[in-house]
């Protein structure tokens, strides 16, 4: 009796469809993000914020030019973020 959670009867055919070309700097990226938003996953944006890194000033090295954690960390160690202002 096969488990029926998934029907993996057939492998997904990889009739390698050419992934549609991605414009280098899309106004709206494949995820519907508007142009104002830097291409980086949300937790990476948060990391940048915590480290005081300006994402807009970075060039991404990830897929589709997205900014990675490494990009952020590199920027943070290169230009140490100013100490948090005290209230």
């Amino acid at each position: 009796v096969p488990a029926q959670a998934t029907a993996t009867a057939a492998p997904v055919q990889a009739a390698p469809a050419p992934v549609a070309p991605v414009p280098p700097a899309p106004a709206v990226d494949g995820n519907g993000r508007a142009g104002g938003l830097v291409l980086a996953k949300p937790p990476v944006r948060k990391l940048a914020k915590d480290l005081g890194v300006d994402l807009a000033a970075l060039t991404g090295s990830g897929p589709l030019g997205s900014i990675t954690r490494e990009d952020v960390q590199r920027a943070a160690s290169g230009t140490p973020a100013a100490a948090e202002p005290l209230t």
Partner: protein, 463 residues
């Protein structure tokens, strides 16, 4: 219908279930015209014979259990019995309200032409219904699935039944054999046990819910044992005979189980026979429609979504694929769907929920030495203690990398999968989740605690 005499559409969709109607709704938002062809009821399996009715039964089952065990919480109550007619009318009420809402949404939309009837692909760009032809600049196949049986097992709808029959049963049987320990099998086993039925699951694979992480299976089996749900795993069935009062099932090796009913829950097959798919050149494999990762079939401008596409058979996968295809056709170039990022919930008691890779798959993919896991026991979670539920939240991460799998077992943990879905799909690191201390006392706190522990800073746990 905005164009009553025009039978050419931007998209012709064959099948009005989860995958089909999601395609339609998204397409019209993007300015496309759509014909949506449905021979039965809009909403398909999920709404009428799947997700919704099973979850209504499972909730009635939860109420029965809570009533039965209410004294543990200081509430004196007596469980008199299950009134199946009333259970069914509750269940049908829920379906009815959602069906009305869905119909309203689809029928009020002028850009959607709903065609009632049985459709067949008669040309690469044309579906015929009752002699009338509907031509589309694009076609989306979304004809869904049906409950399979096995050779030598004839479903009679009386004593040997599928989920379709089980969902409209007018009585609580005294005993049931559930053939198949996958999602649908364990959900029905759970419902019936809560209703007082003597249940035995028979599964050929070595464990229940074998697609899940091994520790999830173990935890479920432990819980089922405690609930006195019988199960026999590891050996296929050999034969089924009808007896005077029910059915008798023989497992390979000679073990015999008898019961009033046999539920066949051995999987769902693609509903693609005689629909003209092959004739029009659509590449198929064992009845499934093959697509690339952009859901294109081998015929230009013909797409497929939902249960007919090999992979997870889940309603929200159908939604996501439908939305994807509509956006693709509209030229929006949506990001490819990561199948592992689709959340999976099994709604039995205790619930199972997972997203991403199992530990075994992650080790296969990244190498065993690169994978770290953490198993947070719900014994340390206040809210789970309050609910008197047992289980765990297990995380799988790549060393110095993101969380690539989340696996949960316990009452109500299905609701935690939304958060886990973001963590997996956004490739979060344990420390990034750990930074955000979760609300106390919730069950989602257990997810937070697991991330704290994996980040090296356990709070209510040992490292």
């Amino acid at each position: 219908m905005s164009e009553p005499n025009d039978t050419t559409f931007d998209i012709v969709i064959l099948g009005g279930g989860s995958g089909g109607y999601a395609t339609a709704l998204r397409a019209v938002q993007l300015g496309l015209t759509v014909a949506l062809i449905e021979k039965g009821k809009l909403g398909g399996t999920c709404l009428h014979n799947g997700c919704i009715p099973t979850k209504a039964l499972l909730h009635a089952a939860e109420i029965a259990d809570q009533t039965r065990e209410s004294e543990q919480f200081g509430v004196k109550a007596e469980l008199v019995g299950i009134d199946m007619a009333a259970v069914n009318s509750y269940k049908d009420g829920v379906i009815g309200r959602l069906y009305k809402g869905l119909q309203g949404m689809l029928k009020s939309n002028k850009a959607i032409t709903i065609v009632e009837g049985h459709g067949k692909l008669v040309a690469p760009d044309t579906v015929e219904v009752d002699g009338k032809r509907y031509t589309g600049r694009n076609i989306v196949l979304a004809s869904g699935s049906y409950a399979k049986s096995l050779p030598g097992l004839e479903v009679d709808g009386e004593r040997i039944i599928t989920s379709d029959h089980a969902l409209v049963l007018d009585r609580v049987p005294s005993s049931v054999i559930v053939l198949g320990g996958g999602v649908i099998g364990v959900e029905f086993a759970s419902v019936w046990k809560s209703f007082g039925v003597d249940v035995t699951i028979v599964e050929a694979l070595p464990r229940l819910v074998a697609a899940e992480d091994e520790e999830s299976s173990k935890a479920l089996e432990r819980a089922f044992r405690k609930r006195k749900i019988n199960f026999k795993v590891g050996k296929p069935f050999e034969k089924v005979e009808k007896t005077d009062n029910g059915v008798k099932l023989t497992i390979q090796g000679g073990d015999v189980v008898e019961a009033e009913l046999l539920l066949v829950a051995v999987g769902r097959g693609p509903n693609t026979a005689d629909l003209g798919y092959e004739q029009q050149g659509v590449k198929m494999d064992r009845g499934y429609v093959l697509t690339d990762e952009r859901l294109r079939t081998s015929v230009p401008n013909v797409y497929a979504v939902g249960d007919i596409v090999p992979g997870l058979q889940l309603a929200h996968r159908g939604f996501q694929q439908g939305i994807f295809v509509a956006e693709e056709i509209a030229g929006q170039n949506p990001a490819v769907i990561d199948e592992a990022g689709i959340p999976r919930v099994t709604y039995c008691d205790p619930e199972l929920a997972s997203v991403g890779l199992t530990e075994a798959k992650a080790k296969e993919q990244y190498g065993a030495d690169k994978i770290k896991t953490y198993n947070y026991n719900l014994g340390g979670n206040g809210k789970s203690q309050i609910l008197k539920t047992a289980g765990h939240v297990k995380l799988v991460r790549v060393e110095d990398g993101p969380v690539v799998g989340v696996h949960m077992v316990g009452a109500r943990v299905g609701e935690l999968i939304g958060e886990a879905q973001l963590i997996y799909n956004w490739e979060a690191y344990p420390a990034e989740v750990a930074q955000l201390v979760h609300a106390h006392p919730t069950q989602n706190e257990a997810l937070g605690e697991a991330h704290l522990a994996l980040a090296g800073k356990p709070l209510h746990a040992h490292a």
